[in-house]
Point group: C2
Chain length 176, copies 2
Amino acid sequence: MPEPAARLDLDDYLPYLINRVGSIMALRFGEDVLAQFGLSIAMWRVLAALSSHGAQRHTDLAGLTSIEVSTLSRIVTRLVRMGLVVRAPSKTSGREIALALSDRGRRLVDRLIPLGRRYEEIASAGLSKQENAVLRRALRRMYRNLIDAEPMAVNDRTGSPDAAIRTASRPETPTI
Amino acid sequence: MPEPAARLDLDDYLPYLINRVGSIMALRFGEDVLAQFGLSIAMWRVLAALSSHGAQRHTDLAGLTSIEVSTLSRIVTRLVRMGLVVRAPSKTSGREIALALSDRGRRLVDRLIPLGRRYEEIASAGLSKQENAVLRRALRRMYRNLIDAEPMAVNDRTGSPDAAIRTASRPETPTI
DNA sequence: ACGCAACTGTTGTAAATGCAATTTTTTTGC
DNA sequence: GCAAAAAAATTGCATTTACAACAGTTGCGT
């Protein structure tokens, strides 16, 4: 007997709700604001992370921004060429490179921040202070839950031979 | 007169929190579950939307999934080739519902739904029923707010009379 | 000191993505 | 009924992305 056909109501499914808000938010902010400055969403994320957390190594920045390292590498190259970011080889370690905002980059970000805040306001209009607080706490909690979660064994009937392998080879976990 | 250097605290910035949760959630579910079925996140979104909302036209499906129409077109082609989706030949005078799950597609989705639900649980573990409800309501409200919002750009002539409902159709790049 | 394993960042390459046509289908005005 | 207009769907093409391979560093155990 097949499953009782567990129905899925998208409009109450958390991953769907989150993706949908994220998509429209990026679309709007990207088109309405960032495009005018010649920036993509990814670039803005990099700049914002550097502004908020200060100078970072490449790998850490990837974790902060949820951008894959190789993708980030090219984005940073572009930001450097645009004069918004500077690369500073670490004195203590020959393999690490510290990334930081240039003066121009900092000035740009400082100009962008109020616009981002404004969009945040627009998005969360109508939410009470409590609701807003709950929302943020919930999102932070979800992130932690997912970071800490063990990979779920999803087996059909036959034992999958690679469960152990998958556990071992889990690269690319945005460990903040 | 320079701005008071409005500081941005990423860990309290809604777009950032949302993007971060969306990224990790997609990464985990995609790697742990979907990969074993030969599906990408985008494919799963399409299948889930068809399951939840029934047969859809191409454009509507794009709106539902926040996937750009041309991208969706190719994804659907692949799903059809995989035998999971059928393009209902739009009868000459009949209804114009073009895309639907095949029997095989429906069976697959029915098997995937509990797994998605499980991940939803994992993600929202530790949240009370009230918090969970607030979270969902907040996300729905944010979506509506952003759909309805006027572009706040500084230039261009005002009053875009195009009241047509805007649908998020961009990327696998959720938010900032 | 040595060698090997793990870390860091970059690059090669195939696949995915988004925009702008282009083609196909549906609606409309007469 | 039919041609024009509008809307929907697909495709061409340049850009972007992710995975893997690579090259250079560091750390650590022996």
